[in-house]
């Protein structure tokens, strides 16, 4: 835990403390092999389960029958997701998820690989641009 505190910027620490050492479920909206530019238009999501050491232990991809921000929010709650990583999201849904104690990392741009890497490192932030980095 201490190591984590050293590695991540101070702004992020609070979120990681809240997530604790228990298994964490993270939902990433997908558009091909990248984070979907729009939360409300995503038709594919990846649900990753992170172990106590912060490594991805399990991954599953879910293809949605249709794009809908409401349905995605519902899925986040029923799947007991603790963090959502997405591109653009409307304020209404952002507030709703935050109110439901879900961490929302929005305006994230980049490939799934780069995002998962940052996630495992614990250095992912909202607004991160990970293309070509």
């Amino acid at each position: 835990m201490r190591e984590l505190t050293r590695r991540v910027p101070p702004r992020k620490v609070a979120q990681l403390i809240w997530l604790g050492n228990m298994a964490r479920k993270v939902l990433i909206t997908l558009y091909g092999n990248e984070v979907a530019p729009r939360f409300d238009l995503a038709t594919e999501v990846l649900i990753a389960t992170l172990g106590p050491d912060g490594r991805v232990e399990e991954e599953k991809t879910v293809v949605l029958p249709q794009a809908s921000a409401e349905n995605l929010c519902h899925m986040v709650l029923t799947e007991e997701i603790q963090a959502v990583i997405c591109g653009a999201i409307e304020e209404e849904y952002h507030q709703y998820l935050t109110w439901k104690r879900v961490n929302v990392f929005d305006s994230v741009m980049g490939s799934l690989e780069a995002v998962l890497e940052r996630l495992e490192e614990g250095t992912l932030r909202s607004g991160d641009i990970l293309f070509g980095k």
Binding site: A36, P37, R38, E90, E91, I129
Partner: protein, 470 residues
Amino acid sequence: MKAGRVPRIKDLFELPVALSPLIDEVPLGVAVLNPKREVLLFNRALEALTGFARHEARGIPCAHILRSNICIQQCPIARLRNGLSDSVSLEGDIINRDRRKIPVRVTFAPIVDLTGRTVGYLEAVEDIRGLREMEGKIGKAYGFGQLVGRSPQMERIFKILPVIAQSDSSVLITGETGTGKDFIAEAIHQASQRAKSPFVKVNCGALPETLLESELFGHQKGAFTGAVDSKPGRFRLAHNGTLYLTEIGDLPLSLQVKLLTFLDDKVVYPLGSTKGLHVNVRVIAATHRDLEQMVREGRFREDLLFRLNVVRLHLPPLRDRGDDVRLLLEHFLNTLTSQFRKPVKGFSGKALRILLDYPFPGNVRELRNVVEYALNICPEDQIHPRHLPAYLVEPRVDVQRLQGGDAAFEVPRRVQQQEAGKDLNWAAVERKLIMDALVKARGRKSKAADLLGWGRSTLWRKMKQYEMDS
């Protein structure tokens, strides 16, 4: 664009000019993309619209910066790549960095070099929030297309029209003459996906049966005497568009069968041709007749009615539209004064009362004609009763329903008004009422007197007075 180099315009001015400051002055969001759809240039207006700074956007795929539904659902550059060389303009929305959804119109155009090779794309993004707000207000105040109305009946119609327009189902529009059936049909076409394709109108009552068949379905050269050329027919002319069949109630039975076949398999068989042609046409039909009654009388095919009756729109007569009369009077006065360049400002109180009391059997068309007549006659800045058509101003007989008689017996309103307009002599009208009652009662005077709500002696006296007892 190579990193660290400032993009310039050469050969336009004496010395090269930097491009970025120039596009920064454009009040529209502008982005220049490379063939991989990554952002090369980004102007100030687009920075303000998206919330991303140009240094953040540079080198990033445009879908992640613009974050528009167009990029994800129907990116036109993918189509441009497949050989389309024209610019494409589409409406959609973006979600900016402040998480706000903004309606936009995006124009995509290919950038070609001197050899004609596509070297990139230009994207112009226009914020249309103001336009949308205005559309909303206009829609609320006036209605749909050229139709105007604020009555609950019309509001209901305006609300469902956009939905109907977006579907591809057949529509049957019913309503009295002058209620705006033609306008509704055209408005549906204009608001539909077929708006850019033809809207072809055919009046089924205007042509004799033989001509109508060739007009609708076309004919082959030599199909009949005088067919010196092949004719495509209205169905083929309306391919990918809308065919509007007005006065469908007047369509002869033989053609009803042919129309029915078309609605089933979307294939037309021109006269004299053995080969059918597949056409993609949406059919909108309209009539002022009671089609259900015609079906009962065997004059209209029930199965055709069922096929046309997918979406039914009934336009209410003006007399049932309450305050819409006032609104329409003002509307037509405004449009016609500017058209005729007349300095008329409005109606006098008396003229307005006369107009509001009149039942307008010819509905909106009649109302428009009355306003047009008054405007032509009026030399002043206000329309007075003397400027209105005579049949509105002079006293008229308005017997709605004869009291105390057979409920089914009603003197047709239009007949009364015509009679009243033609001859304002009460004696003539009373004579007509007696005659109608006698016809209805098949000559039995006591029944006729009952129908009229008179005693037998009154009827006898009046018949004698009008010399009808012989």
